[in-house]
Subunit: 360 residues, 2 copies
């Protein structure tokens, strides 16, 4: 594999994102320099294969600043000054404040393009870094009117090298969008999870998949998120205001569900929820594809799944998704096979013929 | 396979739950009778294999009432009267109101045990029914002090036959618990998704996995949910009040994030969110097991996955979970293999030796 990205790449900040960028580019054969303010973190990232130590002879073409949001502008400015030929990007979750600070300090904006990979994990740090973190994710570029087209191209190449899908928007558009699709969901997940602190353990034992999904991101790092929320406070506040108004009317409806209009209020909210979730694009930026799902029950032992998959290979059907679930109490597992709707009947009849136990 | 459940089982209501119960019991060889107020729905469920037509000679041992919450008490009462030897349960999401109505009407509570399988899908209806819907899920039983022990045993047997894990609590405890782990999460998912209705399509295009997870259940049926929320209004209101108070202080903090104490308020909420989500049990009612994840890049064509899985079988490692992800732009797929931490190094070295391309 060859990379679109040419020359040395310097990464500043070896957290989850910096380490992941370094791992992915290193695997493509790019000469990656990775630096962190913490020598221990820097060594760890290098041990993992995310790049090499900085050297005085370094002459990076591209610099990726992956430091916490509250110091991003300062570090971007330093890097622009230190490497006057390099193109610089950052990966902070809020873009306008950084651009404004750089503009105020007369930074060389021609060589700067802000960006934001829409990828992450609940656990941060170099040790969580993964070369495939950006695979299939959106990578937002927020060029300013001063960004050179070659700078924009370099960041798009970076995104493509990491198997991400680049999208260009302005910094202001970005900040408005992430208030809706990232910052508000984070706040609401944390608010919901916080209510569980008061619940009895016996109550929480009844938890199903719904509450797990709605609160998964509540496990995220508070220190990172207070910076993000503070930096994008006006946009988040504006979306939050709508949610607050809706919540207040729902609460009022629940005070007396028999009152005239109470159920209509609840119904209207739930219906708007239906509409809102339907607006979300699928995993790869397209409207969610509906797959046909076939469930097979197998013995929960090494080799069984392989035998199943090997026979599916023989049948000639391509799997789109596969999910494995173990029974808590019995030595069987369920395998959920997702295929394109066209392929379903062929798969079902062939598997049945071969003696597999289909359920559902 | 033989069932614990003995004799005829009568299912009233052929929606998602009723059809799924019927499918699962029928596969175990149980004589299942399925009835629906809509002849078309009843025929559909029977076509799917969820049971047979009712007959005048029916003498069910067990009746499972799977009708909407607002008519559950009435139907349970009718069934108790119509079949004086049968044990009756229902599957409604709210339990106290039903028990109170039955008590008020002097129903034969000895033969009644309320229950609630913690399983569902965003799509309802007979056509969404699946025999494995309850596999590994909690099935809550809410016996009253009048329920006979043989009635309780019969419902536990039903849950076990469906591969669910029975848990006994009182109706009041159930309603308090689901306010936390089901009803509030549903409301906030709908509230969050509802904000997306006002977002531009370009904004929503930036959506990542976080917002998809937090809003997934917002696709649920409003008609069903207004009944559930109305029936459990006092308990939901009580949890909602805590969330409202937290939301108000977060909103205030975002009004002026530079004000003294504003960041501390945000930090405290996010930290409580961390604690709350950590309280949730894993999929099978135990604390979430941490698996080691190894990611392999494969050619996205039939047979490749099978070849991988077949070699993993030869290596002798048992997979706990498997996830398949396709690249939007290139003909490769990523396979995420989850194994017990002990097995990871063996798997990684063996796969590498066999020439598989490991990433991350």
């Amino acid at each position: 594999m060859t990379s679109r990205t040419q020359g040395q790449v310097r990464i500043v900040g070896a957290g989850l994102i910096g380490t992941s960028v370094g791992l992915a580019l290193s695997k493509l054969g790019v000469d990656v320099i990775i630096e962190d303010i913490s020598p221990a973190v820097q060594s760890l990232a290098i041990d993992y294969g995310a790049g090499r130590q900085p050297a005085s002879s370094d002459a990076p073409n591209l610099i990726v600043v992956c430091v916490p949001p509250d110091v991003t502008a300062v570090v971007v400015e330093q890097e622009l000054l230190k490497f006057p030929a390099a193109i610089v990007t950052d990966v902070a979750s809020v873009k306008s404040a950084i651009l404004e600070k750089l503009r105020a300090n007369s930074a060389d904006l021609e060589r700067y393009v802000g960006s934001h990979p829409m990828a992450g994990r609940e656990r941060g740090g170099a040790a969580s870094g993964r070369a495939d973190l950006f695979f299939g994710r959106v990578w937002v570029l927020t060029p300013s009117d001063q960004s050179s087209s070659s700078a924009v191209q370099a960041i798009e190449n970076l995104a493509l090298d990491l198997s991400a899908s680049p999208i260009r928007v302005s910094a202001a558009e970005h900040d408005r969008a992430v208030a809706y699709v990232s910052h508000l969901p984070q706040l609401v997940a944390s608010l919901t999870a916080a209510t569980l602190v008061d619940a009895f353990d016996e109550d929480v034992a009844l938890a199903g998949q719904g509450v797990r999904d709605t609160t998964r991101i509540a496990a995220s790092d508070p220190k990172l998120w207070i910076q993000i929320l503070a930096a994008n406070a006006p946009e988040v506040r504006s979306v939050l205001r709508k949610l607050q108004a809706d919540l207040d009317s729902v609460a009022k409806a629940l005070d007396d569900p028999q009152a005239t209009g109470a159920l209509a209020t609840l119904n209207s909210l739930l219906e708007r929820g239906n509409l809102g979730v339907a607006k979300l694009p699928g995993k790869h930026g397209t409207k969610a594809t509906r797959y046909s799902i076939t469930t097979v029950m197998i013995d929960d032992k090494p080799g069984e799944l392989a035998r199943l998959l090997s026979e599916i290979g023989e049948i000639g059907v391509n799997l789109e998704e596969i999910k494995l679930e173990h029974s808590p109490s019995s030595p069987v597992g369920l395998v959920e096979l997702s295929v394109l709707p066209d392929a379903e009947s062929n798969l079902v009849s062939a598997l049945t013929q071969r003696g597999w136990k289909l359920v559902g």
